[in-house]
Amino acid sequence: MKLSRIAGLYVPIVTILGYVFLFAPLVVLVIYSFNAGRSTVVWTGFSMDWYVQALNDRGLQRGLQVSAIVAVLSAIISTAIGTSAALAVIKRPFPAKNLFSTLLIAPLVLPEIVLAVGMLVATVWSGLALGYLTLVAGHVLVSVPFTFLIVRAAAATLDPRLDEAAADLGAHGGQIFMRVTLPLLLPAILSATLLSAIISFDNFVMSTFVSGVGTTPLPIQIYAMLKTGLTPKINALGTMLIGVNVLAILLVMGRYLKTVRGTGQ
């Protein structure tokens, strides 16, 4: 009897421990962002000071600005490339289609550090300066497999008869894209854009190699600050980043749920 009761508790206990392991560090980080003292271990009282300090930190402001610019640009470029490639693969016949698809997804399985070193070597070889250009290019390289996969999955569910129906009603290629393909793929395209922006914003490995002087993105800026000492300022920043990311993911999920409900699948 007793043994079976313990056995019955096994699953809930393991589950709870798993979640504690996942979220305890985040909870601690959020709690100590409101600590009045300098310590990230000893609680001395509630305060919002570290938020004020974090928002007023020149380095963090600059890092946030760089990260935001790179995230927006790389997300737009990555989505454009991913969408075009996905439509080509789904809608047009061409030789070596599978090879082309696999090569596009390859950055997903290659170690990012190898890609990053490759980007750096290519940059040096081409004589370009490290900066926004190399950052955006590097982030596009990392995120393009994701945008390609998301849009391809959505495009594969499109009924090819819709294109024929539109052509039959007198629409030429451009009109078919603007009036049928694009509206139907829009939820997937928006999801892909948001996801690639998050990937860019969080990126560390690629950024370490291809950021230049004066274009240090936020994650690297934070890492640099750790070297001079851990203060709740970083906790405060971390809390704000969690907030932004959760909001973005909720937006993606919201759109996704809406399309799922809309198509009745």
């Binding site: 009924d159 008869r161 819709l162 024929e164 129906a165 539109a166 052509a167 039959d168 009603l169 007198g170 629409a171 030429h172 009109q175 009036r179 049928v180 509206p183 139907l184 809309g262 198509t263 009745g264």
Partner: protein, 377 residues
């Protein structure tokens, strides 16, 4: 659309659609080439309800898709109202298609679906509204104008697909198995409704189906197709009552077929030998003595009692009997080994037979169809 053109033959006599030696080969690397459509030539008159009938894979849908412009012919010409459109893409042809899967735009309302063709052709907004409303009235779906396709039943979606095509006032409307996904009752209703609509609008309808009953009820003329070739073109009565081709005879309704050999030919009458029986039949076909051919008889044309002195007679034995309400169906094994099906009205005196009983089968010679074997496949 709003103006009801009465169905009348085109004064110019110019066919709405003309196919000249049209071929389609999908896999051009294969030798010999596998023809999906094999040197097809025919004319479809303006205002006609024309049906391509055949089993799946016979090339009927491919033919329709070539007329619509979704496929380009490998060889041959397609003329719409006298103009060669072989090289024109679908969006530049004055045809519209109703798809089996409806292919309504899921992101647009019913109204916007119907207005799609007018919008891409930049028809002024005010005119668009009137024409969309008239098209929706035509299919009795105006109440659903604001709804999304996913909120409609299959039959309703098919009506919207019809309205979306007809609103463009096409010279030819192409229908690709449009009722294939509907249940039987709804299909019957839609058949009558669409036929009535075609009569009223006077638009040329080209219809593709594998359902012989559907083809017979709706069409002015039917082209029976198999293996990429048109076997016979005729009106429904001709297709059913005067099949000239072995495939057509076997595909439309039930048919008993016997292999035969021509013995003698004289002044439009041939004498043939089939199942050890000599038969004299009238025909216009080129059948020299010694040639193989096929004779065909409908199960309902056969009886067990001689009605007239020159009826053909075959001897056989009853193998099985099935009661089907108004009729009885018998399977008869002839002495020469061939199986024949006989359908007899229960009201007839000769209707009840025992299994194993020896019988004579009679058929009036006017009900025996003589088919040439040249395209037996």
């Amino acid at each position: 659309m709003p103006n009801d053109k009465k169905s009348e033959p085109d004064k110019t006599g110019r066919p709405a659609v003309e196919l000249v030696d049209v071929c389609k080969v999908f896999d051009t690397s294969a030798t010999p080439p596998a023809y999906a459509v094999d040197h097809l030539s025919l004319k479809i008159a303006s205002g006609e309800f024309f049906t391509f009938l055949g089993p799946s894979g016979c090339g009927k849908t491919t033919t329709l898709r070539m007329i619509a412009g979704f496929e380009s012919p490998t060889a041959g010409k397609i003329l719409l109202e006298g103009h060669d459109v072989s090289g024109l893409p679908a969006h530049m042809r004055n045809t519209n298609t109703v798809f089996q899967s409806y292919a309504l735009f899921p992101h647009l309302s019913v109204e916007d679906n119907v207005a799609f063709g007018l919008a891409v052709k930049r028809v002024p907004r005010s005119e668009r509204g009137d024409r969309v409303a008239a098209a929706l009235d035509l299919v009795r779906m105006r109440h659903a104008a604001g709804r999304k396709p996913s909120e409609l039943s299959g039959g309703q979606q098919q009506r919207i697909a019809l309205a979306r095509a007809l609103v463009n006032e096409p010279s030819v409307l192409l229908l690709d198995e449009p009722f294939g996904a509907l249940d039987l009752k709804l299909r019957r209703e839609m058949q009558i409704e669409v036929k009535e609509m075609q009569r009223r609008l006077g638009i040329t309808f080209i219809f593709v189906t594998h359902d012989q009953e559907e083809a017979l009820t709706m069409s002015d003329r039917i082209a029976v197709m198999s293996t990429g070739v048109v076997r016979q073109i005729d009106d429904p009565v001709g297709i059913y009552e005067r099949p000239t081709d072995r495939f057509t005879a076997g595909f439309i309704g039930d048919m008993n077929m016997l292999s035969a050999t021509v013995l003698e030919r004289q002044d439009g009458v041939v004498e043939v030998l089939a199942a050890d029986t000599r038969l004299k039949l009238k025909t216009n076909a080129e059948l020299p003595a010694g040639k193989d051919c096929t004779i065909a008889m409908r199960p309902e044309a056969l009886t067990f009692m001689r009605d007239s002195a020159d009826d053909a007679a075959f001897a056989g034995k009853v193998e099985s009997a099935v009661y089907v309400g108004t009729d009885r169906l018998y399977n008869i094994r002839l002495q020469t080994g061939e199986a024949m099906t006989v359908r007899v009205r229960n009201s007839r005196a000769d209707s009840v037979l025992r299994i194993g009983e020896k019988v004579s089968l009679f058929c009036p010679s006017s009900a025996i169809h003589l088919l040439s074997d040249q395209d037996k496949k």
